[in-house]
């Protein structure tokens, strides 16, 4: 019976992951098809492609993402997930190549995104998911320690919305604490012991920080929030895997 519980946990986890990857595909494709994405920017500006060729290349990738979504729920899930992973990694790489500020942090910061797609390829992706979310939190932690100007503005506006005036020095101090906590949980999630509260904290924080994009810029920023759905879905997946496994070991 106990192994049934584990299997149920794995099934639930896989469903969460598939849904999250699907939503990511929608958000990435939407951004690419409406305002243009990093692959376009890199091909057009850096690789000197014509605008039309760069747009076509990015459209091809975006349609591949959208087409992959239904397959993620069939027995062709693995090749579909590989296609999604490849395009998401291409996006992250292109972003790293066009990003002028702290470019080395871009690929790790998006690890939860491309890592979630890659995880669908594997039967036992637990460590892959742990590594991916650790990278995402560590990269954001470093950005917070550098007082990323957008993070400062999110805090100032967030507090402003509830009529609390937050000065820049206070916002920067808060980011220091946020950065330290991000780095700390990034380490804790990699410990062999499964720390359920850490996974739950990361899921909650990942959700809040994705939502912050919409709290800052309004409903029209939904793709910016949705594109970060894996920042909460990946730790949630881990939590689902662990809660069942822990229960199993508790029963034993």
């Amino acid at each position: 019976m106990a192994s049934d519980a584990t299997q149920q946990g794995q099934a639930a986890a896989r469903t969460v992951l598939r849904l999250a990857v699907s939503l990511t595909c929608v958000a990435v494709a939407w951004q690419a098809l409406t305002i243009g994405g990093p692959v376009f920017s890199w091909l057009f500006m850096n690789a000197d492609w014509s605008e039309l060729a760069a747009v076509r290349a990015e459209r091809a990738g975006s349609f591949a993402l959208l087409a992959a979504i239904p397959f993620l729920f069939t027995r062709f899930a693995k090749p579909a997930a590989l296609v999604v992973f490849a395009w998401l990694l291409a996006n992250a790489t292109a972003q790293a190549l066009v990003e002028p500020w702290l470019p080395a942090l871009v690929i790790p910061a998006q690890a939860a995104r491309w890592g979630a797609a890659l995880a669908l390829v594997f039967t036992r992706p637990q460590w892959l998911l742990r590594g991916a979310i650790a990278l995402t939190f560590a990269a954001h932690g470093v950005e917070a320690l550098y007082a990323h100007p957008l993070f400062v503005d999110y805090l100032i506006r967030g507090f402003g919305r509830v009529s609390l005036e937050l000065g820049q020095p206070a916002a920067e101090s808060m980011l220091l604490a946020i950065g330290v906590i991000d780095l700390l949980v990034a380490v804790l999630i990699l410990l062999p012991k499964r720390l359920l509260p850490v996974a739950l904290y990361m899921a909650a924080w990942g959700f809040l920080t994705a939502l912050a994009r919409m709290l800052f810029a309004g409903l029209e920023a939904w793709p910016d929030a949705l594109i970060r759905v894996t920042n909460s879905a990946v730790p949630l997946t881990l939590a689902l895997l662990w809660v069942r496994a822990n229960r199993e070991s508790g029963h034993a």
Partner: protein, 424 residues
Amino acid sequence: MPEQTKRAFFGNWIVVLVLLGAAGIGALTVLDRAEARDTSTREQAGLTALKGTVPAQWRIVWTENPATEAVISWTTADKPASAKLHYDTEARNGELPKYASTAAPETAGVYTDKKIKLHYHHARLTGLKPDTVYWFTIACDAQATRELHFRTAPEGDVDFKFLYGGDSRTNRGGRQAMNKRMRALLESDPAILCLVHGGDYVTDGDEMEEWVEWLSDHELTTTAGGRVLPVVPARGNHEAKGPQYDEIFCTPGDEGKNYYATRFGSQFLMINLNTEISAGGDQAVFLKDTLEANKALRWQCANYHRPAYPAVKKPGAALQHWVPLFEQFNLDVAFESDGHALKRTCAIRGGKPDETGVVYIGEGGLGVKQRTPDAERWYFQGGITASANHVQKVSVTKTEMKVESIGEDGSLLDTWTGKPRKRE
């Protein structure tokens, strides 16, 4: 760890590493090719070479008080034993002893770079006479520039003009063509005071190799008669947080801030902002205080890189943190760059078209490859947007402010005219 888990753990990571490696190698190969192509088109003809202690890459930087102050900067390949700026309100034809005044560089040093070692020199001139032509020659050791000159900004309530443009990065041929266009404009219209630059001078703001090209190309804006076009700079995202921007423009605004307000005449304010730092923190306080202190001025404009009402990408934090202040204090025009297209929005207030609102003009066309903008955005109803390199010529009088968008070939692409608002 059980054997099975261990195998799954290592198996997963080997796959990740292999895929990451392949993507990285692929990306770097293509990138290298792109760079190799860029190098082959580099052109230096007609530009002062960086050799020994020859003073080259001269530029004039204006910040708060262009009527009475200017920073004259230049570059040398080697460190000169002596460096001096000779200047006067009379032309002296480069005969150094005849100039009434001299100034030694206030700061000098080596530009931050791993590959290239070049020296910057900044001579700060203060106590200048407004609306006056200053003639100058830069001398380093036994080498000197030809005699150059510039006109200080006026102090009183008089007419004047300036140029606005941004994004001179990534496409050197386009940048040189636009610099020649600006020189032609300056030659045909001596009322033009300066270029207000909206940022993104080069692609990698921490690579001196690219800045060296920008700085040399800037010489193309100097007229045949030796008139130099001063620059009022703003930081773009491609300058990121690199120290080179401050080394090139002598830290406009304070270090780490790079925001400041420039006064042209007695009735015009240009607030230059930095979209690479927090918009809503100290900078919003500065913006509000500046607008409050100058609210009676006839004309008020802002200049910054990432747009609030973009033609191409999504809005920057200016939309949330600055636009409400622009609207509260009835800014006339916000000049924006970054999108690589030409744009002029309708007048906007409260996120809607409103004749009493603020107009957003620019989007970056000083040579960068232009993109096809999204003309369907609501704020282009009654405005325009197009894919064309351009520079704005802004003509300011007591009764109107006219913004003409001029293409690379000199053609007039758009004209907007604003009337003075009622101000307290």
